[in-house]
Amino acid sequence: EDIKLGIALGFTGALESLAPPMEAGAKMAIEEVNESGLLLDGSTVSTVNADTTCTDAAAATTAVERIVTAEGVKGIVGGMCSGETIATLEKVALPNGIVMISPSATSPALSTIEDNDLFFRTSPSDARQGEVMANILMDRGIQTVAVTYTNNDYGKGLADSFQAAYEAAGGTVTVNSAHDDDKADYSAEVGALAAAGGDALVIAGYVDKGGSGILRGALDTGAFDTFVFPDGMVSNALTDRFASEIEGSFGQNPAAEGEGRDKYIAMAEDAGFDGSEAFSAEAYDAAALILLSMAASGSSDPATYKGSIMDVANEPGEKILPGELGKALEIINGGGDVDYVGATAVELVGAGESAGVYREIEFKDGAMEVVGYR
Amino acid sequence: MSGSDAFANRGNRDASVVNPRPSGTIDSTRRSGPVGEGRAGDPFLIGEAMTGGYGTGPDILHDCTIAVEQGEIAVIVGPNGAGKSTAMKAVFGMLDLRQGSVRLNGRDITALNPQDRVKAGMGFVPQVNNIFPSLTVQENLEMGAFIRDDDISETMEQVFDLFPAVADKRKQAAGELSGGQRQQVAVSRALMTRPSLLMLDEPTAGVSPIVMDELFDRIIAIARGGLPVLMVEQNARQAMNIADKAYVLVQGRNAHTGTGKELMANEEVRRTFLGG
């Protein structure tokens, strides 16, 4: 059998720069499975891309509709942004009964959505990250912060959940204001944040977009010395551009402790892309989960294998790291049980979303260091 | 305006997207052809047996001949739409002739484009839009001398002598002048090239009688200075008085030709074309 998987990401549009490493991650998992030749009696898996544009719900649904009804994909790695994911889920995946595993849609709204058990995500809800970030700040004894967020559901949701958690823990948010991505100039935003003041600045944005602009402005004008970076900011680009200037700043992103991630990054490097880019590892895991579940349920029919996803992802069973998909298939084919850990320490909770292990990072001596996991 | 009428009057009023000032009408991309030999016994300028029209439209001019000699004033008159302006444009190379030739000073310039005719010594003052409104009067004159690389101050002094009213306003934007003053600036601009021929299209249209007299005075002075003048006039009676040669055009054809005096004396011409 030739099994088709869809990769529905925003290849053009607001987050177009994040899409390629994600696509590469998903493809790497599929490659691995194909090479093993162990999936469902030697079935091969091929991929079909759909450009969801991240923002345009109409274009996204049409594109996903195409890969579902015309190409006949059996599962989708995607979508990318929460809004577009909700639209395609409601309009395409649900009616057609297709499994979607999103690597990067982190909106809390997706936790409670009516999904017929078809929707999963390998990234945690932002609600969780807000709590984690608040804890980190409190543990470091920082009592007042200014917050700026990228003006979309991700940024807003994260900023709000953070503010709630932080204030509940006794902190003060001096200002919680939005910045739009791709704007010509951020002086006004930086000025406003500086005027509001605070011991640190939380930048809930994207490093490739407005987040960098805000950070640049805040550094140059000396408005803040310490910055807090959530997942959208934590990336190599941040280190490349700012490492020496943000000494002592810190942040967190969903990433599991241990070998899985390191291994994935090494594999990615061999394959010629940057595995530490945001959500690349999550995309790998999403694809791996779909394929392992197919194997576990013995069927590529979404209606059947959707039931196995939670089993594969969670305990009990043998822990599976990136690069061990072949081994996992062997175990499954042999009737064994696996606990897929993958690159991001996958642990699906609730309605099928990552429980969220976050690594806490800090900038020391011009480099990003992992100081702990939460 | 071929092909553009889908947009002709849409959105063009919106000053935030287009500049509502009218654009030019002359095809500026046409290239000149070779210059040929003149013919023996030619007048200084002759547009001979010209036939042609605009673009692919019907012929407007039919075998029409216009000529002017050194130091003379030649006047073209005729009813509206007779093709007077068209004849001037044809002489100036602003439309393609299907037949006939234009010869200037012993050379056949039929194939030249308007830019090169300016360089060949022709000066033209259009009927309307004949100044650069936002440039000062002095800059208007400098632009008139654009093709010259030598010192233009002397010519400018001469022009100022000829048109004292223009000299007074030399630092003012030409768009702020009155209609009569504008006409004088327009003629001055054409003189700045030091042309060997001056062509005027209705220089007195819409100007008051006193300015008209003034302009005619200047034109006579220019002609007596040795520069041949070819002009179109609706104020036919005054024009006939000063014309050394006059052409009556009707429907693109030469209807009557003679000296101004002769035509004024011709009862039929007077009644049908000169309105009196």
């Binding site: 290849f11 053009t12 549009g13 607001a14 177009e16 759909a50 450009d51 923002t55 345009d56 719900a57 109409a58 274009a59 049409t62 594109a63 509709e65 195409r66 009804t69 015309a70 809004g83 577009e84 909700i86 639209a87 409601e90 309009k91 649900l94 009616p95 057609n96 009964g97 909106s107 809390p108 709204a109 409670t112 959505i113 017929n116 609600a127 003006n151 979309n152 559901d153 807003k156 949701g157 709000d160 709630a164 939005a178 | 071929s2 092909g3 553009s4 009428d5 889908a6 947009f7 009057n9 849409r10 959105g11 063009n12 009023r13 919106d14 000053a15 935030s16 997207v17 605009y54 439209g57």
Partner: protein, 447 residues
């Protein structure tokens, strides 16, 4: 002025039917043939068509403004977005506690705001010179602070109400179809305000004003969380048509699907899309009918006269500004209605998706390519361009693949292959330029 002599060739009578037939053939091919070019799925074909129909209504609205009156509206995205607000405020069930938290106060604030604007304009009209200007400014500033004083607490209260799930004022729970005309009204009201100011400026600065207002409307939708949850998006907006899942569960429908030898899943998708399609078609045809009636009457003649020569029309007793305002409002109303329909179709209100490139300039491309001034042209252009916009996603990479096939493998080739998605913009630009060059009056020129 040779352009005024318009040659109406005999072929032009057949032009429209032939082009529409070709368009229909494209959709047919998309639905039936399965190859590198087409998907062979009726679900897709109909999905493209449905969005195409909405684009067609948007294009009709723009065509009224541009084609009939020559008004250059580059704020389409804003009016679309505003129309999209209607399904949220009309069809969504009310949010518990939201009205109690601050509904009344919000209304009071809006009344204050509009009142002070009205007062300011009154003062402005009465007053003269510097004193008048100062007084107007004073009223505006005072009004602004008063407005903020009433408004801000209400917003805070509403947004605090169940902020994780709602945080917005909620809807009225009325049928979603009702929200379509109401969306039109929303946009028309905004158009009235914009037109009143912009069309009154001495030189027409409508384009830049609409460009700005479009952005401002989208910004308001993004940031005013109490209204429609801002960037946190509203999902699960009620539908006027059945849900696929319900159809699939319905045994009657299953047997119906079987009788067509399709799976229930596929048939349900097609069925739902056909339902939408009929609704959209009804609206579209009604708008075209009314538009054509108006255009072929003294009103249309008056509009043509105004377009030909405003000064003369004004001197002939036609109130040009009022007519412009009228057309602008009607056009925006139609655009707003399309916006409401689009949100209904999407089931999702996501303000971040309103991007001017896609929702303003692409609509412009549709109108220009179709043939400005011609209603059928606008429809043809819209559906065709939308079809291409979607299909370029597939055709672009194929084309690049074909073009790069002879190239040696390497960085350049990889780069080109990776860049295939951007073919969309290049293709749209090329099509626009080619049409402007070879059929400057559009595919279906105005008669």
């Amino acid at each position: 002025m040779s352009g005024n002599r318009q040659v109406t060739s005999a072929a032009s009578r057949w032009r429209a039917p032939v082009l529409f037939l070709i368009l229909a053939a494209l959709f047919f091919a998309e639905g039936t043939f399965r190859n590198a070019m087409f998907s062979g799925s009726w679900n897709i074909s109909l999905a493209i068509l449905n969005m195409g129909l909405i684009s067609a209504i948007t294009a009709l609205g723009l065509n009224m403004q541009w084609g009939y009156a020559g008004l250059f509206n580059v704020g389409v995205v804003g009016f679309l977005a505003l129309g999209g607000l209607a399904p949220v405020l009309i069809a969504l069930p009310p949010v518990e506690g939201a009205w109690g938290a601050g509904g009344m106060r919000i209304i009071a604030a809006l009344v204050t705001g509009i009142g002070s604007l009205a007062l300011a304009s009154l003062v402005w009209r009465r007053g003269r010179g510097k004193v008048g200007a100062l007084a107007t400014a004073g009223v505006l500033v005072l009004g602004f602070f008063l407005f903020r004083w009433v408004f801000d607490p209400a917003v805070a209260a509403i947004e605090a109400n169940q902020s994780a799930r709602y945080g917005n004022i909620g809807g009225l729970g009325w049928p979603v179809l009702l929200s379509w005309p109401i969306g039109g009204l929303f946009a028309a009201a905004a158009a009235w305000a914009v037109g009143k100011v912009a069309l009154g400026l001495r030189s027409d600065y409508l384009a830049i004003a609409t460009l700005g207002i479009g952005e401002i409307i989208v910004a308001v939708l993004k940031n005013e969380e109490w209204l429609a949850r801002g960037v946190k998006n509203i999902t699960s907006i009620p539908r006027p048509v059945p849900y696929e899942i319900e159809l699939q569960r319905n045994p009657d429908f299953q047997s119906f699907a079987n009788s067509w030898s399709t799976s229930a899943a596929e048939a349900s998708g097609i069925w739902v899309k056909l339902c939408y399609m009929s609704l959209f078609l009804v609206v579209l045809l009604a708008i075209i009918l009314l538009a054509e009636l108006a255009l072929k009457s003294p009103w249309g003649r008056m509009m043509r006269a105004i377009r030909d020569n405003e000064t003369a029309a004004e001197a002939m007793g036609k109130d040009v500004t009022a007519r412009h305002l009228q057309v602008f409002i009607i056009g925006c109303g139609v655009i707003g209605m399309a916006g409401a329909m689009m949100i209904t179709l999407d089931g999702l209100m996501a303000p971040t998706s309103y991007n001017p490139l896609r929702y303003t300039f692409l609509i412009w491309v549709m109108v220009i390519i179709g043939g400005s001034g011609n209603n059928w042209g606008a429809v043809l252009g819209a559906v065709l361009i939308w079809f291409l916009w979607i299909k370029v996603e597939v055709w672009g990479p194929e084309l690049i693949g074909l073009l790069t096939a002879p190239m040696p493998a390497g960085a350049v080739k990889d780069h080109l292959l990776d860049s295939a998605p951007h073919m969309r913009f290049i293709a749209m630009g090329m099509i626009l330029l080619l049409v402007l060059r070879f059929a400057p009056r559009g595919l279906l020129p105005e008669r």
